[in-house]
Amino acid sequence: MFNDTRDFIEALRSSGDLHEIEKEVHWDLELGAVSRLACEKDGPALWFKRITDYPSDITAFVNPMATWRRVAVTFGLPADSSLKEIYAEYEKREGRLIPPVTAKAGPCKDVIKLGKDIDIYDLPAPMLHDGDGGRYLGTWDMAVSRDPETNWVNWGMYRFMVYDSRHLTGFPRPTSHLGKVFQDYYVSRNKPMPMALVIGADPISHFTASATYHIGGEEAALAGGLRGAPVELVRCETNDVLVPSNSEIVVECEVLPNCVGLEGPYGEYPGYRTGEMGNGILCRVTAITHRKNPILAVDATGYRDDSSTITALTGAIAIKRRLERHGLPVLDVNVPREGAVHTAVIGVKYGGKQVAKEILETLTSRRALLSKIFLVDPDVDVYDLGKAFHAFSTKCHPAHGIHVIHYEGRANTLTPCYSQGERALQKGATALYDCTWPGEWSREWEVPVKATFDTIFPDSMKQKILSEWKSYGFKD
């Protein structure tokens, strides 16, 4: 269990999953370019020790969980654990909730800047990609907000851009939990929403902030359960929001209910910079607190970034739970890393047209993050993309096996294939590729027999071949 970013960095160093860069690196594109390439090479997490224009006591830790090895380390598993083992570990722990505890003080208050001392430019927010709308301070973050009507506290990982010395703009999507509470309660009453942007808390807290979790669910309690110990929280200086006491940096804000600023465009987790720009929120910073020698945690967002592991993992389990709650015959769900949280492979006990349609409706009813779903029979390992692709290629009927649902007001506007017009209306569609055999087909007379070793030979023959394999001259 890690109490903070520093513990986690040490663990990554021990497992060989950390690379420390002593050479001075510029915050303006250089840090982003090094980090992006490292990410695409499946490289280690990076710790930049010298950043141009900034003192040496502030450093940047980048791509905390962008590989499955680092997700495994986060959960205290051997770094070489399989994807299936990591999924199973998360699934085992996610049902347990341990509420947070509060403390009067914590390291995140080592330095407190209020009033005229506030200057966001004291933090080395990087310009991550050429052509982004600005420098993004919030990438590996957790935005903490509260619904005053229910007292529900939400942690979410959303992007936040530096606007000037005292303002940030952000794009928690309007359909996000933060976006929903902000609009339903605060905007309707013309009241500013207190918020804290936490950067560099313990890794599990960030993991839960990025998780797909149900409305009303307390990520702080989920984090406690996943860690096996409560998260210690401390109150902000200028509002009642509680934040992890060991956080590296906390930016306290008011989200303004009646003002706007330009946000985006930004090279996002789908691996593209879409034209999502100028439709976000504006925040007025009321305090900045941080630890001594603060570490700015950063996700070098883009193809196969941190969300490709953690958002995919939690999203997959959330999909499974949702389908179970609706009585659908789900077995396993994989949101593959390469699918940028747009695609899911769903294994079912049995498929067919009715199941396919119900799954499609269930997964797009409130907000529709997925645009492609592959439905597969139990004989297909959802974690084996080669097998899933084989099932799609051979079992999905091109005329009858593709089901599409259209929606407006809840599409994922970051989906690259949508037009600017669709983006503006949050209009989109999800296609389900039914790669299961039709339920009405006779297993004896109509369902084709799969021509693989496991399926097309009698058990006695398979056992003989396996036990005598080396006698045929094979080494393995």
């Binding site: 224009d53 310009m127 609009q183 905007v187 600023g261 330009l262 946000e263 465009p265 034209g275 720009m277």
Partner: protein, 108 residues
């Protein structure tokens, strides 16, 4: 170039071609390209822009990026006429440029 004569450089993002018009004062969001810790600071302004060489000579430099962040090869001249507030009145999650237009027309 002598620092006294070096021109100030700004950058702006446009939603669509044709959003930048000569001969009128228009509301814009400019980001400051001056090197240093505060590079990319945003500013809301009413400004005049030009592509005419004789007018550009006395103006700041304006670089233009598209809605997907692509830098256009042509640069413009820009002259800031007045500032608009950073906390621009408008409805969250609604079009920033519409709010900018309203603020400029109401003299905010």
């Amino acid at each position: 170039m002598d620092s006294k004569t070096e021109k100030h450089s700004w950058e702006t993002f446009l939603r669509r071609p044709g959003d930048l018009r000569e001969g009128v004062e228009m509301p814009m969001a400019l980001r400051d390209l001056t090197s240093g810790k505060k590079k990319y600071q945003m500013r809301h302004v009413v400004a005049a822009v030009s592509r005419k060489p004789e007018e550009m000579a006395s103006m700041d430099i304006l670089h233009v990026r598209t809605v997907v962040g692509v830098l256009l090869s042509e640069t413009w001249g820009v002259k800031i006429v007045r500032d608009l507030p950073t906390e621009l009145p408008g409805r969250p999650y609604h079009d920033f440029y519409e709010a900018l237009r309203k603020a400029s027309s109401t003299g905010s």
